[in-house]
């Protein structure tokens, strides 16, 4: 007898949360075979599992290795489900450019934030690491993004963040974008000092902050 939708959704979530890629992928195939709605399988299955993993990361039960393997399981299952998404479900996402500022190549944190923003439904354009400051602005304009996420682990490159905000000011386009910053040496007070819109101290709070920024903007 075929399993219920709830059981399949639970396996999608559990596969992601329990670092079990095989389970997540098998559940994704099962969802497709059962004719389940792909969008629902993603949002009520995979995303639930990834959010739960994010919560455990926040609570220091999961760490970087665990979160990476959860995201591998999620993306593997997503590959199975994505071809079955209806066009209408793909909707218009809020665009976001993200990268590690010039002078720094530490990108673990940036990659985690990218995964979590992707899960949360942002359209993420990843510029990578050691990114020239002007590239953030160029890419944001080119992709019509509304969110610019800047990361650095080094005190020597923090000033690059302020420079980007200043460049936005000078071009007179500051109000078109929300700027969110994070990384080892970054603090809320530094974010306020340089006029960033948001500060996040880890990948799961980044999603919260980003979502709040646009909730406020919409209100």
């Amino acid at each position: 007898m075929p399993r219920s939708t709830e059981e399949i959704l639970a396996d999608l979530a559990r596969g992601v949360l329990d670092l079990d890629e095989d389970l997540a992928v098998a559940a994704a195939h099962e969802a497709v075979d059962a004719g389940m709605d792909a969008y629902e399988a993603i949002t009520k299955g995979l995303v639930v599992g990834m959010n739960e993993a994010g919560r455990l990361y926040d609570e220091e039960e999961y760490f970087v290795p665990e979160l990476l393997i959860c995201s591998d399981a999620m993306y593997a299952a997503l590959d199975v489900l994505r071809p079955h998404l209806k066009v209408a479900d793909q909707g218009v996402k809020i665009g976001c450019v993200i990268g590690v500022v010039k002078g720094d190549t530490h990108d673990i944190g940036k990659n985690l934030v990218k995964i979590m923003l992707d899960v949360a439904g942002f359209e993420v354009h990843d510029l990578g690491r050691d990114v020239p400051l002007a590239d953030f602005i160029e890419k944001a304009k080119e992709t019509n993004s509304q969110l610019i996420c800047l990361s650095t682990l080094m005190t020597t490159t923090m000033d690059g963040m302020a420079a980007i905000i200043q460049m936005l000011d000078e071009e007179g386009i500051r109000d078109r974008f929300k700027v969110m910053i994070g990384g080892g040496p970054i603090s809320r007070s530094f974010a306020e000092k340089i006029g960033a819109d948001g500060y996040a101290d880890n990948a799961s709070s980044a999603v919260r902050v980003a979502t709040e920024l646009f909730a406020t903007a919409a209100a």
Binding site: F63, D72, G103, T156
Partner: protein
């Protein structure tokens, strides 16, 4: 560690000084003479071992440190392709020669050999995302790479100790409790860090282990670090350090952000507080930024220089600015 004000006074500068022993030595002496730092230390960066094993390094600028721009191997299956770290390589030899010059010039000061911790080196040789996954999925490959990384740290440390260094500082910013958790730290970081520490201890060379981030995530594992000195980040209190590692001497933890952007008077107060809290060695909490004003480092050094005269300050204090 060097700041731009010292670079202009001395007439030597990053990035050239990373490949020139005399220039490197003059900058270190400049930090001593002009900033009041009470120790010598070399090299300035954490890329020499990785470069020696095949990673591509950009030496950066006067204001940014050298960094790895291309990993040595694409995946852990290529681990056999890694070059063994050769201490005769150009930049390793530069650091050793700078050490010789420094010890000859100032034999009265501690000379610290700065080596890269095992997880930080492993994640400079292969993409960190590959390495961190392997800790879960292919632990034997992760261990194999860590063995090679510890070998490199020991070889580099031996070369610097051979040149006259009397202390080794092992910094492992990529292997913190916040990134990998206490359980993985015990399995993947601690055995290799301790192997390096014990190697030098057997040669009467003491080690300092610098742990970035919040050490609370490590819990009691921290106390198992076999080095006599643990250096901590600015977001950790010495009370926490003492609770977790009561038998270790403490080092730290003046915020590098404050050092770069704060006022000298604030730095002076922070340093006084560290002394009152019973710190054994005052140091920056992390790598110091090159644009840090000399006056701010001086403010900290001045407190240390006078602290021994304070009533009640019984501990012997040394200020060490190991931050690279």
């Amino acid at each position: 560690m060097a700041v731009t004000e010292v670079m202009s006074s001395v007439g030597d500068s990053w990035p050239a000084a990373h490949s020139d022993p005399e220039s490197m030595a003059r900058l270190v002496l400049g930090m001593v003479d002009l900033a009041g730092v009470e120790n010598l230390g070399a090299p300035f960066c954490m890329t020499i071992e990785a470069e020696g094993m095949g990673a591509t390094v950009d030496l950066g600028s006067a204001e940014t440190e050298p960094r790895v721009t291309e990993y040595a191997i694409a995946g852990l299956s290529a681990i056999d392709d890694l070059a063994a770290f050769d201490v005769r390589g150009d930049r390793a030899a530069t650091a050793a020669e700078a050490t010789r010059l420094l010890v000859a010039e100032r034999p009265d000061l501690p000379m610290i050999a700065c080596v890269t911790g095992p997880i930080s080196l492993a994640t400079s040789l292969v993409d960190p995302l590959i390495f961190y996954r392997a800790m879960r999925r292919d632990p034997s490959a992760a261990h194999a790479l860590l063995e090679l990384s510890a070998d490199a740290a020991i070889a580099f440390g031996d070369a610097l100790v051979g040149a006259g260094a009397d202390t080794v500082c092992i910094a492992d910013p990529s292997g913190t409790g916040e990134i990998i958790g206490a359980k993985a730290f015990r399995e993947f970081a601690l055995p290799y860090i301790n192997r390096i520490v014990d190697h030098f201890a057997a040669r009467d060379v003491h080690s300092i282990v610098h742990i970035c981030g919040d050490v609370k995530a490590l819990g009691g594992v921290l106390g198992e670090v076999s080095a006599p000195v643990i250096s901590i980040d600015s977001n950790v209190s010495f009370r926490t350090l003492r609770a977790l590692a009561p038998d270790h001497a403490s080092m730290g933890n003046v915020s590098t952000y404050l050092l770069e952007y704060g006022k000298a008077e604030t730095l002076r107060r922070v340093a006084v507080n560290r002394v009152l809290e019973g710190v054994d060695i005052i140091a920056p909490a992390c790598g110091i930024g090159p644009r840090t004003p000399l006056a701010n480092i001086r403010a900290v050094a001045d407190v240390v220089a006078t602290a021994q005269d304070w009533e009640g300050a019984e501990r012997e204090l040394r200020s060490v600015a190991v931050g690279r």
